[in-house]
């Protein structure tokens, strides 16, 4: 599983790299585009995702101490869905802005959509797996491995959040 996560990190790599490059060479455009992000929603989402990691961990703990992890797993799924819902709202409300942007700003939006989009796909897969676990919660289940994956998604977001929402605004 660690090997798999290593692959994932490098999969995101070029996107991060593209961002760093853009920020270095087109700082103004990146800053002004960043101002159009919904900071409040982004922050809310960060909180939601962090909480979901917490419930995921509680689920793992429950399964290790012979209690049913079901409740925690469903909560995790719910939080994941809430995240996607808010993200979806953000996407649609930013779309007109993004579509009309040009130059460096367009680049910012492009990276924003590509990176967070890829992240959202990962999250959707994560939600599917956790629901599957919750549906057939039996003992010898790969909860630990799934948990690793979930925390990985979470950590990616912890990087994305300041990158797109905060750095340009306050940096």
């Amino acid at each position: 599983m660690w090997a798999f996560l290593a692959t994932e990190v490098l999969f995101f790599g070029p996107l991060f790299f593209g961002y760093v490059h853009g920020r270095a060479f087109q700082p103004e455009a990146f800053a002004s585009a960043s101002h159009h992000m919904h900071v409040v929603l982004g922050t809310l989402n960060t909180a939601i995702l962090l909480t979901s990691s917490f419930t995921m961990a509680l689920g793992l703990r429950a399964s290790q101490t012979d209690r049913s992890p079901r409740l925690w797993l469903w909560l995790t799924v719910l939080l994941g869905l809430a995240f996607l819902g808010i993200k979806g709202y953000e996407y649609t409300s930013e779309w007109s802005e993004a579509a009309s942007a040009a130059g460096g700003e367009a680049r910012f939006y492009f990276l924003y959509y590509a990176t967070t989009g890829l992240h959202a796909v990962h999250l959707a897969i994560g939600i599917a797996i956790v629901s599957w676990l919750a549906l057939r919660a039996r003992r010898e289940m790969p909860i630990e491995v799934t948990g690793l994956y979930w925390h990985f998604i979470d950590i990616v977001w912890v990087f994305l959040y300041p990158m797109f929402y905060l750095l340009e605004r306050y940096g």
Binding site: A3, F4, A6, T7, E8, L10, F11, F12, G13, P14, L15, F17, G18, H21, F25, Q26, A29, G103, G104, A106, R107, F110, L111, A114
Partner: protein, 522 residues
């Protein structure tokens, strides 16, 4: 009852989870691609036989070398040794019943085929003319043709590589036989382990980079295209961050093969086993740090160039250690020149020439003169064709009795090995000279003074083609008419020789125990 007789229907093959059958599926698929890539090469050499661009148009020529590069790199060489021989041998050599994830293993074959179909579709739809390197903005703005289709093909086949890598790593970690400690592993396993690490860490970068190229091409947003505010150097950095390690994906398994064949036919334990294992890891690590040597003339900073140049010299050290140790293994050995041994020795010699000329290219000032000339072409063909393809053929011969249960005709095989060696050198040595004299790569016509050397090269290509067709014929023949092979026809050490030829479905009748170091020849 061997793995070959477990079922004869097509269905039993296409749904198999036996790593040995999957290896055979891979062998068939990559052989097909080898001849697709070879056909393109034949047309290229035919065009270059005369100075005038008379056989094909410039556009067609561009498409030919693109498809040649794409097919040979991603659909033949990268999967060649790892997916065929690695798949077949890794579990057997470590005394396991199968790979760690047999279904995933089969899935990676299907993914490979799917990627291949996309690429072939692009070929049929009219080809691509970007070169295998997909440099931007050519690939995102100007190139004609089916860039997206090919990118999708390469993207997909990348996942096949990643899954194979994952499978090998977990297999080596988890499924070693009792007593088989890390430093009792055959070097073949070490090489595949390091290769798998590179597959896992480099391939996703390529996948995402190519995705960005495709998105840029579709949506016209500037990530790489300077006209849109992007940066083409960013593409080159990302591409070579994958592609230099990828050249080690292509050569490390070949080193593993040589380390099995040479001790066997010199009847001596491999010299400096631990150094060999560390050298493999060293190459894999430093290989990640030298990508900038492909960009000396791209406008990256001079200091970056100096650092990359120095690191490239550094990577030659573990490579040289390996060459010295193979040579030392031969010293005072009782050498038998069987066909696999001829291939292995050919590998060592040609790899050495390719590596040494790599140092020419890694020298900043010389590279300004040599970059984008036939010297570069000769350099990497010496390593990839002279080195890796030789080793692949050597491996196919060496383990053929194990895979097919039959012996191949030895005399014919030696003739083929020598034909290939001769044809190869005739094809590519003149290209060093051409590059040194300044003939640039990727043009379909050239000044008349280069004709003699080009003609030699084209003649060599014809010899090489015959050399490659020979094994196809006699190995095919031997499947039906060859003598039945005993379990250990070469008197080799290694767990794979302790089970029947061909092995039973789960490899061993009794799970083996390992009590000794590898290469116990004496």
């Amino acid at each position: 009852m061997s793995y070959l007789t477990e079922g004869f229907t097509l269905r039993s093959w296409l749904t198999t989870r036996d790593h040995k059958r999957i290896a055979v599926l891979y062998m068939i698929a990559i052989t097909a691609f080898f001849f697709v890539g070879g056909a393109a090469a034949a047309l290229i050499r035919l065009e270059l036989a005369t100075p005038a661009g008379d056989l094909v148009s410039a556009e067609t020529y561009n498409k030919l070398f693109t498809i040649h590069g794409v097919v040979m790199v991603w659909f033949f060489l990268i999967p060649s040794i790892p997916s065929v021989l690695g798949n077949f041998l890794v579990p057997i050599m470590i005394g396991a019943r199968d790979m760690a994830f047999p279904r995933l293993n089969l899935a990676s074959w299907y993914i490979y085929v799917l990627g291949g179909l996309f690429t072939l579709a692009a070929l049929i739809a009219g080809g691509v003319d970007t070169g295998w390197t997909f440099y931007t903005p050519l690939s995102t703005q100007f190139a004609e043709g089916n860039v997206i289709l090919v990118i999708v093909g390469v993207f997909i086949v990348g996942f096949s590589s990643i899954l194979t890598g994952l499978n090998v790593i977990v297999t080596v970690h988890r499924l070693r036989a009792p007593g088989l400690t890390w430093f009792r592993l055959p070097l073949f396993i070490w090489a595949h382990y390091a290769t798998a690490l590179i597959l896992l860490l480099a391939t996703p970068v390529l996948a995402m980079t190519l995705t960005l190229v495709a998105l840029e091409r579709v949506f016209g947003i500037g990530i790489f295209d300077p006209a849109l505010g992007g940066d083409p150097l960013l593409f080159q950095h990302l591409f070579w961050f994958y592609s230099h390690p990828a050249v080690y994906i292509m050569v490390l398994p070949a080193m593993g093969v040589a380390s099995e064949i040479i001790p066997c036919f010199a009847r001596r334990p491999v010299f400096g086993y631990r150094f060999m294992a560390y050298a493999i890891l060293g190459i894999a690590t430093i290989g990640f740090l030298v990508w900038g040597h492909h960009m000396f003339v791209s406008g990256q900073s001079m200091y970056a160039g100096m650092v990359f140049s120095m690191l490239s010299f550094l990577v030659a050290i573990p490579s040289a250690i390996k060459v010295f140790n193979w040579t030392a293994t031969l010293y005072k050995g009782s050498i038998v020149f069987t066909a696999p041994m001829l291939y292995a020795l050919g590998f060592v010699g040609l790899f050495m020439i390719g590596g040494l000329t790599g140092l020419y290219l890694a020298s900043l000032a010389l590279d300004v003169h040599l970059t984008d000339t036939y010297f570069v072409i000769a350099h990497f063909h010496y390593i990839m064709v002279g080195g890796s393809v030789m080793a692949y053929l050597g491996a196919i011969h060496f383990w053929w009795p194990k895979i097919s249960g039959r012996l191949y005709p030895e005399m014919l095989a030696r003739i083929a090995a020598l034909t290939i060696f001769f044809g190869f050198n005739l094809t590519f040595f003149p290209q060093y000279l051409l590059g040194w004299l300044g003939m640039p790569r990727r043009y379909h016509e050239y000044p008349p003074e280069f004709q003699v050397l080009n003609l030699l090269s084209s003649a060599g290509a014809a010899v090489l083609a015959i050399g490659y067709l020979l094994p196809l014929c006699y190995l095919g023949w031997s499947i039906f008419y060859g003598k039945k092979a005993p379990p250990n026809p070469w008197g080799a050490t290694g767990l794979e020789w302790q089970t029947a030829s061909p092995p039973p479905q789960h490899n061993f009748e009794d799970p083996p125990r390992v009590t000794r170091a590898p290469y116990d020849y004496a």
